[in-house]
C-alpha cells in the first residue's frame, strides 16, 4: 500500500507545546520536510531561539543548540565556521531576530555566513504573553502598547527582508505566509531553496514567514488568519526580496 501522508523523519515524534491555531507547527513541518527531501538530517545542526519556539530543540531530529535571546546567528556562525560542510539553520521569532538580536542578524548577513535563517514574524512577543514586538503594526494593541502602537512614542515596525536585502552578503530573502494551502506550498519551496542555497554555498538565505498568534492577538485561529491577511500583508508584502540566482 502506498503511503500518501506521513510525518517527516526530521520532525521528532513528540507533542508540540504550541497553542491551538499557532502557525509554528506548520513551519516546523516545512523545515523538517526540507531536511528530509534534501537528505541532510545527519549533517544538520539547528539553532533554537528564545521565544515561543525555544523548545524547537526537542522538535527536530538533527543535532540542536539552544541559543541565548537573539544570539542564534552568532552561535550559527561559530558552528558553521568550524564545520563548513555541515548545514546550519536558525529558527527565530521577531523579538529574537529583529530586536535583541538585530546586530547578530545584520552582521551574519553582511558577512555572508553560509547559513539558513527561518524567521517567524507574528508581530508580537508570544512566550512572555503578548508584548509589543519590533514588527508590531502601527495602532496594534499589545500589553505594552495598550493604546495601540503609536509610532511617535514607540517607533515604527521593521521590515526585515527589505532591510537585509540592501546587504551584499545576502543570497536569498523571501517573505511567505502559511495561511492557505497555496501559500503553504510557496513557503515550502522557499524554505527548501534556502537550505539548497546553503548546500551550494551561495551565502545567507532567510525566509520570513508571516505567522499568527491567536492567543495573544485575542482571536480565534480563523479570525487571526484573516487579520494577518488584512493587516500584516499590506505592511509586509509577500515576495522575493533578493535572489542571487535571478538574472
Amino acid at each position: 500500500m502506498a503511503v500518501v501522508f506521513d510525518k517527516p523523519h526530521a520532525l521528532s515524534p513528540v507533542p508540540f507545546h504550541y497553542c491551538p491555531g499557532c502557525t509554528h507547527g506548520i513551519v516546523h513541518r516545512l523545515v523538517a520536510e526540507a531536511i528530509d527531501s534534501l537528505g541532510i538530517e545527519g549533517d544538520t545542526i539547528g539553532i533554537a531561539p528564545v521565544g515561543c519556539s525555544v523548545f524547537a530543540y526537542n522538535y527536530f531530529e538533527c543535532d540542536m543548540i539552544e541559543a541565548a535571546h537573539g544570539r542564534a546567528p552568532a552561535v550559527a556562525t561559530g558552528v558553521k565556521r568550524t564545520n563548513p560542510d555541515k548545514i546550519v539553520f536558525t529558527y527565530q521569532g521577531d523579538g529574537d531576530l529583529a530586536a535583541i538580536g538585530t546586530a547578530e542578524t545584520v552582521h551574519a548577513v553582511t558577512r555572508g555566513e553560509n547559513i539558513t535563517i527561518i524567521f517567524i514574524n507574528n508581530a508580537i512577543y508570544g512566550m512572555t504573553g503578548g508584548q509589543m514586538a519590533p514588527t508590531t503594526l502601527p495602532g496594534q494593541v499589545t500589553t505594552t502598547s495598550p493604546y495601540g502602537r503609536n509610532p511617535i512614542v514607540q517607533g515604527n515596525p521593521i521590515r526585515v527582508c527589505e532591510m537585509l536585502s540592501t546587504l551584499d552578503g545576502l543570497a536569498f530573502a523571501q517573505r511567505v505566509a502559511v495561511d492557505t494551502p497555496a501559500h503553504v506550498n510557496q513557503a515550502k519551496k522557499a524554505i527548501e531553496k534556502a537550505f539548497k542555497n546553503q548546500i551550494e554555498k551561495k551565502g545567507l538565505s532567510i525566509v520570513e514567514v508571516l505567522s499568527t498568534c491567536p492567543t495573544n492577538w485575542g482571536m480565534t485561529p480563523g479570525d487571526a488568519l484573516q487579520w494577518m491577511r488584512d493587516n500584516m500583508m499590506p505592511y509586509y508584502p509577500l515576495g522575493v526580496y533578493k535572489d542571487v540566482d535571478a538574472k
Binding site: G42, F60, D63, M64, A68, A74, G78, K86
Partner: protein, 356 residues
C-alpha cells in the same frame, strides 16, 4: 639549548593557544589585549584556522559557544568592559557545559575606566562571571612564561570537566615582553574525555545531541546544577595551583597574585634584608582558591597582608581560608596605578611594628 624567544604577553597567549590545538578565535578589539587578536588574525589562516572579528563582545562569545558546541577548542579574549558584555554568553556556556578559554587582560574600572593594568575584576572572575550558580576555572599568571604554560592547563581543565576557563591577566602582563620557551610549557599532557556530546551532525550514527541550558522544570534544573557542582568539587580537589615563597618561618605572609606578586617578591627581599620575616602565598588558581595553603600558613604566621591592584577584593577570601585566625591587612593601588616595592615594604614595616 633552550628555545627561548622574546614575546609580548598578548602575543605569547595567542601562540600558546594555537600550540594547544585551539585554531578558532572570535574577538573584538579592546585595549590592552588587541595584540592577541591581531596575532591570531595573522597566524590562524596559515594553520587552516579561523580568526573572526565579531560585531560585538556579545556576538564573539556566542560564536565561541557555537564553535565549542561542535567539539573544537575555541577561545575569545577581551579586557574588563568587554568581559562584562561577555558575561551573558559565559553563563550560557556554563549552563550548557561547554569548555572554552576566555582571556581577560584587565584594565582599570568601573565603566570605561582606563587602559592601564588593574586587578579590579577579581570578584567578577571568581564569584560572578554571569547570572546563576556558576564558576569558571580561573588562573592568574605572573609572567609571560607562566601565561603560556597556563593556557594548556586551562584548556585541559576545561575539556576534562566541561567548564569554561579564564586566564585573568592584566595590562602589564599583556603588554610586557619577556623570554618564553614554548616547548617547556607543553610538558605535561593528560588524557582527555571524548566529546561525545558535540553537536556536529549525528550522521545517522547516533541519537541527536542537544546543547542547552534551559530546564523548565525546577527539579531538573536543580539536578543539573547539583551535578555541575560535583564537577566543581573535583576541580577544587584536583586543580588548585599556588606558589609559596619563604612561608615556613614568616611572621607576615603576603597574599598576592599576578603582576602584583612580583612587586611583593622584591619587597620581601628588602624586608628580609632588614631582618623582617616575610613570606608569600601566590594563588595561581583564583578559582579554585588555595584555601588549604592559606589555612596552613595561618598556623605559623602572625599577620596576613593582601596586596592587589584593586580596593581589596581578595581580602574576604583570605579571611575565610584562614578562618580569621590572624589579622588580615590590605594594601593596594587601583584605577591603573601600580605600587612600588618600597610602598609594599612600608606596609610590611608598619605591620611588623604592630606585631612587636
Amino acid at each position: 639549548m633552550s628555545n627561548k624567544v622574546l614575546m609580548k604577553g598578548n602575543e605569547a597567549l595567542a601562540e600558546a593557544a594555537i600550540r594547544n590545538g585551539c585554531i578558532y578565535f572570535f574577538g573584538y578589539p579592546i585595549t590592552p589585549q588587541t595584540e592577541l587578536a591581531e596575532y591570531m588574525a595573522k597566524r590562524l589562516p596559515k594553520v587552516n584556522g579561523v580568526c573572526l572579528q565579531a560585531e560585538s563582545e556579545v556576538a564573539a562569545i556566542n560564536m565561541v559557544l557555537g564553535a565549542a558546541s561542535s567539539g573544537v577548542r575555541a577561545m575569545t579574549s577581551s579586557s574588563s568592559p568587554g568581559i562584562s558584555l561577555k558575561s551573558e554568553g559565559i553563563s550560557y556556556m556554563v549552563g550548557s557545559d561547554l569548555p572554552c578559554l576566555i582571556c581577560n587582560v584587565q584594565r582599570g574600572g568601573p565603566g570605561l575606566g582606563g587602559i592601564q593594568p588593574a586587578q579590579q575584576d577579581y570578584l567578577q572572575a571568581t564569584k560572578a562571571n554571569g547570572h546563576g550558580d556558576l564558576h569558571l576555572f580561573v588562573v592568574a599568571p605572573a609572567s609571560v612564561q607562566e601565561m603560556v604554560s597556563l593556557v594548556g592547563r586551562a584548556f585541559d581543565v576545561a575539556d576534562t570537566y566541561r567548564v569554561p576557563a579564564m586566564i585573568l591577566a592584566d595590562g602589564a602582563l599583556g603588554q610586557m615582553m619577556e623570554p618564553v620557551d614554548f616547548d617547556a610549557a607543553l610538558s605535561e599532557r593528560r588524557e582527555l574525555p571524548e566529546k561525545t556530546w558535540a553537536t556536529n551532525g549525528h550522521g545517522g550514527k547516533r541519537k541527536k545531541n542537544i546543547v542547552n541550558s534551559l530546564f523548565i522544570n525546577p527539579d531538573e534544573l536543580e539536578k543539573s546544577v547539583l551535578e555541575r557542582y560535583q564537577r566543581y568539587a573535583k576541580i577544587e580537589e584536583n586543580e588548585v595551583l599556588y606558589e609559596e615563597t619563604m612561608v615556613e618561618d614568616a611572621d607576615i605572609v603576603i597574599v598576592a597574585y599576578g603582576i602584583t606578586s612580583r612587586i611583593c617578591k622584591s619587597a620581601i627581599e628588602m624586608a628580609r634584608a632588614e631582618g623582617i620575616k616575610v613570606g608569600l602565598v601566590r594563588p595561581i588558581t583564583l578559582w579554585p582558591y588555595p584555601k588549604a595553603a592559606l589555612a596552613k600558613a595561618a598556623e605559623t604566621a602572625k599577620h596576613f597582608l593582601v596586596v592587589e591592584l584593586n580596593m581589596g577584593q581578595m581580602v574576604d577570601d583570605v579571611k575565610v581560608a584562614t578562618n580569621c585566625r590572624r589579622p588580615v591587612s590590605f594594601f593596594g593601588r587601583t584605577g591603573g596605578m601600580l605600587p612600588t616595592a618600597e610602598d609594599v615594604l612600608a606596609e610590611i614595616r608598619k605591620i611588623n611594628g604592630g606585631i612587636r
